[in-house]
Symmetry: C2
Subunit: 390 residues, 2 copies
Amino acid sequence: MTPPDEERVARVALTWLFEPGNRVVWELVQQVGAGEALAVLLGDGLPGGRLRGTVAARLKAGDPRRFAETALRRGHRMGARVVVPSDAEWPGRVDDLAGLEVESGGRVNADTRPPLCLWVRGEPPLGESFARSVAIVGARAASSYGIHVAGDLAHSLAERGWTVVSGGAFGIDAAAHRGALVAGGRTVAVLACGVERPYPAGNAMMFDQILEQGLVVSEWPLGAEPLRHRFLIRNRVIAAATAGTVVVEAAARSGATQTMNRVLSLSRPAMVVPGPVTSAMSVGCHAILRASPDAHVVTSADDVLEDVGAIGEYLPPPPRGEHRERDVLDEESSLVMEALPARGSSTAEEIAAAAGLDLRTVLRRLSLLELTGLIVRRGDGVALARKRGC
Amino acid sequence: MTPPDEERVARVALTWLFEPGNRVVWELVQQVGAGEALAVLLGDGLPGGRLRGTVAARLKAGDPRRFAETALRRGHRMGARVVVPSDAEWPGRVDDLAGLEVESGGRVNADTRPPLCLWVRGEPPLGESFARSVAIVGARAASSYGIHVAGDLAHSLAERGWTVVSGGAFGIDAAAHRGALVAGGRTVAVLACGVERPYPAGNAMMFDQILEQGLVVSEWPLGAEPLRHRFLIRNRVIAAATAGTVVVEAAARSGATQTMNRVLSLSRPAMVVPGPVTSAMSVGCHAILRASPDAHVVTSADDVLEDVGAIGEYLPPPPRGEHRERDVLDEESSLVMEALPARGSSTAEEIAAAAGLDLRTVLRRLSLLELTGLIVRRGDGVALARKRGC
């Protein structure tokens, strides 16, 4: 292997020193580059002093550069690559996190900056995989309803050439991956630990299959443990890298709810699958819909593609709830209306023949239709009223 | 009985001659009064000529004034009264229909004008009953889920002193009335036929109980049949007379969907109970939510009262989906944060004692919290960071 470039080593080292998303670290990297940022943060130039304690504690565990070089070598042997922003396969959408300011209980949570690098296992290029992708997230303790809907949705999206993105958890995450896998589609698991040992181990066979059809991705270097707070840090990548996110079942104030807040802050399509109001697993979904006017109900892959797809590209059949003329007409009146010629007039007898109704019924309906202004009498027949302004 | 006034007779006669909501008839009544309008419509002054055929057909069945007087006498004997706008108990909200213009398939459906009169059976005053009322509407072929939710919602609303309003149909309508009745509350059935013989007959026992605790109401005079198109005409009264409408289960393009379009056109709270996306009976509900940004998800009586109630009067507990600081913290970090004093600083030992955690855990959590900027080191202790602007 060619020796990894300094930029790559420095970004891996920085992610080992500081949790991803850290605002100060990311901004320093933007200003002076990753190599120089690492030197500054390891030296006396540490800005503000707040990061000093963390660095000191981490340095006791080893030298960051040496750690990064070792991890990159190990990654190369096992088929894991590190992707950085200067690479062609960097998923550009995640850089939208640069401008994200998340209100969190009256405080601004600014530590939601873009990843410094992404560890990737699997063949397909990372950026291309995310380009036409939809995230499906939700509860670990999902109900059979949620499992069914998530799997079905993922299957349909994969069939139409969209990548499914999720975490690696039991419940909705796993159902989404499995749906895409069964459809022979591409799926991406974004983890909160090293890609060499995807968590949870109970999904190991699923992860193996994902590696054959898609990607396993993480910001954290090889060896990183799936600490609880990391799942919440990870969620911003799922929200930012995809064209939109669907939540299928979520308990109140859950991780999926937090992901949706990121999606909304990024102005990405935030889609919610509703469920029975009697189900605890849909409480979070309905709370998002009530709290966020920008969140959309979706009930099918058609709805999802309408919300994320290029206009016209995935236009679903006209919404069945749309208001039409026939909504206010009974069946017989509709038949009469349909029997009337677009231009000119017909006699009641002609209408009866065309509509397959008896004359008496037609005459009764014509009176009603005339009263409502939909038709007008003309000579010895009736005609469609011209569209009126009022 | 005192003889019914000319105004009342004329309004009943006009409703017998023309279906309620007719724009031309209503505007004429506004301009010249009901008695004069009736005279005009029966004479040669018929405006536009479009109503002439209807009048002619109807006159063959009898004299409108005589019909109205007979109906009013018969109503008096059976305890049915006719309420007109000049009466104290007239529900003022229905007059908002005067300004309603409903787009219907490219045409403006203007025949949604206020009722000319309302037939009422039952003790409570009509206006007072509607003042604090919520409509609950939905499918006849409701699922057990819909029946359960509608009954539960109506029960809770009735318990809190709100009137439940619905049609008289099987399914959601009946479940709503029954929920309110069981709670000992007030419920109003708005019919599309004469109040002397509520339709459907299968709900006869329910109608009897409604008459004991609430009201049976209709625009149509005694003897009027429940023709199909009348349900759609009736729906605008349910939408207009109430403080808001909840739809619980609706098939695509159903009557309940049409009611919600009226509710939205009137800018009244349009509330939707979601359901499983796998249920055909929730398709209409979800279609409304997708098509109408103004429609709200509701999952409970708390949600409904939040949407229709006076601000502050019915404030429910804070939405459980709300984003809080703790969302981004794990349990141990939350305990550490809670152990920190609002002012001043604490040592790690003091925090460990207050939080009930061991010192090692506290030190680890403090490093993380410092890194995220939530706390700052101060002297030999740590303190909560002041809220920052960025």
